[in-house]
């Protein structure tokens, strides 16, 4: 039986009394998914239980819960319920076709762009969004890139028609931490070691200057806001305005850093500057300095996991093992795919991390409650608990397992149809010529 048929059957079986659902519209309402195995993440596994959703929230979870009369009941027998997965680093929604510049909104002109807000440029109708969410990934961080401070990343839910509908509440200002060049000229470098060293020092100096000025600006504006009487109006500096919540800790600072030596320097840098709310992202060589990251208490967004080792002398499976080694050392870990159109690979990244040392439980946490906690949205996201947002999916198995299918999906309480362009094309072309009477011919060119 092919997947499409499975889906059609699944939907009709689950929602027998909901004929109007055939219009493929996402709908909020009252839903009860019954008799399913519930992976709450926060409170263990309920082997046979029910989840009740009302509006955008989960209102009941447990083995014996009352099902409201108005609820549309989905029979989850033999099925599993998981919290929607969160990808802690993507460019989903900001880019449509990789090589077509006009469809890419990740990179603004200039080096210092903390005020560039990813949420503004996310295209709610990007074709990749439905393609992604039907894999059970309901929420992602969309990141600008390029320059020293590429912009402000946004946590978005993968359903909605406006930024307001999509935002999941968290933002993070990105710093691309300068990478110190080695003495060798890498294969791609056009400049000699001295030039690259100089560029590195300049970048580091520039980064420090940005934050020195941000501190000063914050003092000025704070004083002015407290009492403007008799004070000159502060200058207009949107870059600095964007950094004020970083200094206060209201918004996190996402430091992109990969090489072991650079990670050590970045730890010292964020400690010296006493940023109250910091996460590191990328962290390819985090395992090499896992003790220092743990000691510093800095959470990390690790990935992609499906990557080659960072050194030719490294064991072949280092990138797979990185997240597990960090987790084992006591570092708080969330996973990121680093993808745009293929964020649907997040569960597979998690699966590899799980296999190569992290374990299934920790890996699942690293794509659900882990990132929700890191970004301070765990009151709403990351687990199946009463009062949280209804971001969850129903599957026929472990969502990391490659052959598993996602059968139903809720985002913000919307029962989102399992549909995407990829599925549409499958449906159209699997038996393309069913309606054709004449045989298929390949015409010679001259005819």
């Amino acid at each position: 039986m092919n997947l499409f048929m499975t889906l059609v059957l699944a939907l009709t079986t689950f929602l027998p009394q909901q004929a109007q659902q055939q219009d493929d519209k996402a709908r909020q309402g009252t839903y009860a998914i019954t008799n399913a195995r519930i992976e709450t993440v926060a409170n263990g596994t309920i082997e046979n239980g029910t989840v009740v959703i009302e509006g955008d929230r989960i209102i009941a979870v447990g083995e014996n819960v009352a099902i409201p009369e108005s609820a549309r009941v989905i029979d989850g027998s033999g099925l599993h319920i998981y919290p929607g997965m969160i990808d802690s680093g993507t460019s989903l929604g900001l880019t449509e076709v990789g090589s077509v510049a006009e469809t890419n909104d990740t990179r603004e002109i200039g080096d210092i762009n903390p005020h560039m807000d990813a949420l503004t440029a996310v295209n709610p109708n990007a074709i990749a969004i439905p393609v992604t969410r039907v894999s059970g990934v309901t929420t992602v961080i969309a990141e600008p890139s390029g320059g020293l401070l590429p912009g402000t990343a946004a946590m978005i839910n993968l359903f909605g028609y406006t930024a307001e509908q999509m935002t999941a509440g968290a933002k993070s200002v990105i710093v691309q931490f300068p990478a110190e060049p080695s003495g060798d000229r890498p294969w791609w470098a056009q400049e000699g070691p001295d030039r690259r060293q100089e560029r590195y020092r300049n970048n580091m100096a520039k980064l420090n200057e940005v934050f020195d000025r941000a501190v000063l600006y914050n003092q000025i504006v704070s004083a002015y806001e407290a009492d403007p009487t008799g004070k000159e109006r502060p200058v207009y500096a949107p870059e600095m305005d964007a950094l004020r919540p970083v200094l206060s800790g209201e918004v996190s600072l996402m430091v992109k850093v990969n090489a072991a030596d650079d990670i050590v320097k970045a730890i010292a840098w964020v400690q010296e500057r006493e940023f109250p709310n910091v996460v590191f992202s990328g962290v390819n060589e985090g395992w090499r300095v896992a003790d220092r990251l743990a000691e510093a208490g800095i959470p990390v967004l690790v990935g992609p996991i499906l990557a080659t080792p960072t050194r030719s002398s490294d064991r072949y499976d280092r990138a797979y093992a990185n997240a597990g080694l960090l987790s084992e050392a006591g570092v708080s870990v969330a996973l990121r795919s680093g993808e745009s159109e293929n964020v649907r690979q997040l569960p597979f990244n998690a699966g590899f991390a799980a296999t190569y040392g992290m374990g299934k439980e920790a890996a699942l946490r690293a794509v659900t409650l882990g990132p929700a906690e890191i970004f301070g949205i765990d009151a709403d996201y990351g687990s199946i608990e009463v009062g949280k947002k209804a971001n969850l999916f129903v599957s026929d198995g472990d969502p990391f397992e490659t052959s598993t299918n996602i059968l139903a999906l809720f985002i913000d309480g919307f029962n989102v149809p399992i549909d995407s362009r990829h599925l549409d094309l499958y449906q159209e072309f699997l038996n393309r010529d069913e309606g054709r009477l004449q045989p298929v011919e390949i015409l010679p060119a001259d005819n």
Binding site: S313, R315, E328, A329
Partner: protein, 483 residues
């Protein structure tokens, strides 16, 4: 159009040229100045230790040469009355070294900027594609080129000089390392076709694979044209005139087996490529360079191809530069492939282990010449891409790693002479051969030895700085002149 910076750089370069050019004249102006009349064309070096060839040593003897040709050598030799006599007590005489391949004496092309663009880069003119096998080093040789003296000062009297360029820059020639004009320097004999895997810039052939194809194309079409020409020469009646161009014609003697192809390889894959072409097409080949050709020893030995190994060695990694030989050896011996870098706890141990591995790797390069010796391959040496000032230091490292002094000397003398069919003229100190000699104050492979005199075709040259011990001297000079 000149930029201000360009002018500055040009001025600095000119200053450096003047400075470099000034040195040699001052150095031997006392004895070789042309305004002093020459009174004798005969030289006798008396009572010297004479290393006639590898393992052919006269502990005390005399060598006499007239008009650039050795007339006598032995324990007891009559010294002609008109000889300029040099007291060889405490001196050692060697046959002059032969560099089996370099660009020494060939000026760098003036226009090093962007290559000119062509209408169809898939089919560029031959010269734009770096294919000029009809050219010759003989016309490009500059007797005043500063590199000649540098190479002569470390003992080289003869060089197989190849033109500069890309895939097929032209024919190489044997030349002396001194002479007032190129006619005095150029030697009769083999003029092999120089070939290297250097692609053209932005046009076909750009990559090694296209160079392989282009070589096959040129060779096979030359083969066809040669047969056509023979047919046409015999009887042109009714035949279309065979096509002509200088490039294919330059291949005719290669196809006929009358001209060698001198191939430069500077990494191990190029060795395989060169051998593949030779095996497919069957031309006579001299294989040179072979840097990193540690794993190809057996294959090269089996092929029986004549070989000239590079005198280059990889730089020490930075961590090793400060360490002494003993501690390096200690690190090298400590390598352990059982070591696992399982977690952050093992990172320090990993670094030490990788350093050991790195030293191991370099030790293979250093030991390569010894491997070729042990495999019974009679190789010569080439200085291509090597600073003259590094030659003796590198030789000493190779000897330390197991290369015998005899094999090293053979590579620099008799083997190179044999490689180019010139054993009857050079490579050893024997009556009738050219008076290409080195006079030292000790074993030429010892660190504290100095080269006192170099005779090129009987003409004496005294190096300005004679010590062979200071490995970095030449490099320091080079970096000065670049500023």
């Amino acid at each position: 159009m000149y930029s201000f910076r360009g002018i500055l750089r040009g001025a600095a370069f000119c200053a450096a040229l003047v400075w470099l050019g000034g040195m040699p004249h001052e150095a031997y102006a006392q004895k070789n100045s042309p305004d002093i009349p020459v009174v004798s064309n005969v030289v006798a070096i008396e009572n010297a230790r004479i290393v006639q060839g590898p393992a052919r040593v006269l502990q005390s003897g005399t060598v006499v040469f007239r008009d650039g040709v050795i007339t006598a050598v032995g324990r007891r030799v009559d010294v002609p009355y008109d000889a300029h006599v040099i007291d060889g007590d405490s001196l050692t005489v060697y046959a002059g070294f032969i560099d089996a391949l370099s660009h020494t004496g060939i000026p760098e092309p003036r226009n090093q900027g962007q290559p000119e663009s062509v209408p169809d880069r898939s089919n560029p003119p031959f010269d734009r594609a770096g294919i000029t096998p009809e050219a010759s080093a003989r016309t490009a040789l500059d007797p005043d080129h500063g590199d000649l003296e540098k190479l002569r000062n470390v003992g080289f009297t003869t060089i197989m000089v190849a033109p500069r360029g890309r895939m097929l820059p032209g024919q190489a020639t044997m030349a002396l390392s001194a002479g007032t004009n190129s006619s005095e320097m150029i030697l009769q004999g083999m003029q092999p076709m120089f070939f290297q895997f250097t692609g053209a810039q932005g046009v076909y052939p750009g990559t090694p694979m296209a160079i392989m194809s282009k070589f096959r194309q040129l060779y096979r079409e030359a083969d066809r044209r040669m047969r056509l020409e023979a047919m046409y020469a015999e009887d042109p009646s009714g035949l279309a005139r065979p096509p002509y161009d200088a490039v294919h014609e330059a291949f005719f003697p290669v196809v006929a087996g009358d001209r060698h192809v001198l191939v430069w390889t500077d990494e191990v894959l190029e060795i395989h490529r060169a051998m593949t072409l030779q095996e497919e097409l069957g031309f006579s080949m001299i294989l040179t360079g072979l840097e990193g050709g540690i794993d190809t020893v057996d294959k090269v030995a089996g092929s029986g191809l004549p070989v000239a190994l590079t005198l280059d060695l990889p730089d020490q990694p930075r961590f090793a530069a400060k360490l002494k030989a003993d501690s390096l050896q200690h690190i090298l011996d400590s390598y352990d492939d059982e070591t696992r870098t399982a977690t952050f706890r093992d990172v320090e141990a990993e670094k030490e282990n990788l350093e050991a591995r790195q030293l191991w790797s370099r030790s293979r390069y250093v030991g390569m010449a010894a491997l070729y010796e042990n495999a019974g391959i009679p190789f010569a040496f080439t200085t291509m891409g090597v600073s003259a000032g590094d030659v003796h230091g590198n030789l000493r490292e190779m000897i330390e790693a197991g290369l015998s002094r005899e094999a090293a000397l053979a590579a620099l003398t008799v083997n190179a002479a044999a490689l180019f069919g010139a054993s009857d003229r050079m490579g050893s100190i024997d009556t009738g051969k050219m008076a290409n000699l080195i006079v030292t104050d000790g074993d030429v492979f010892d660190e504290d030895t100095s080269i006192k005199m170099v005779f090129v075709a009987g003409q004496m040259h005294e190096p300005s700085n004679t010590s062979l011990g200071n490995r970095s001297r030449d490099r320091a000079e080079a970096s000065t002149s670049n500023q």
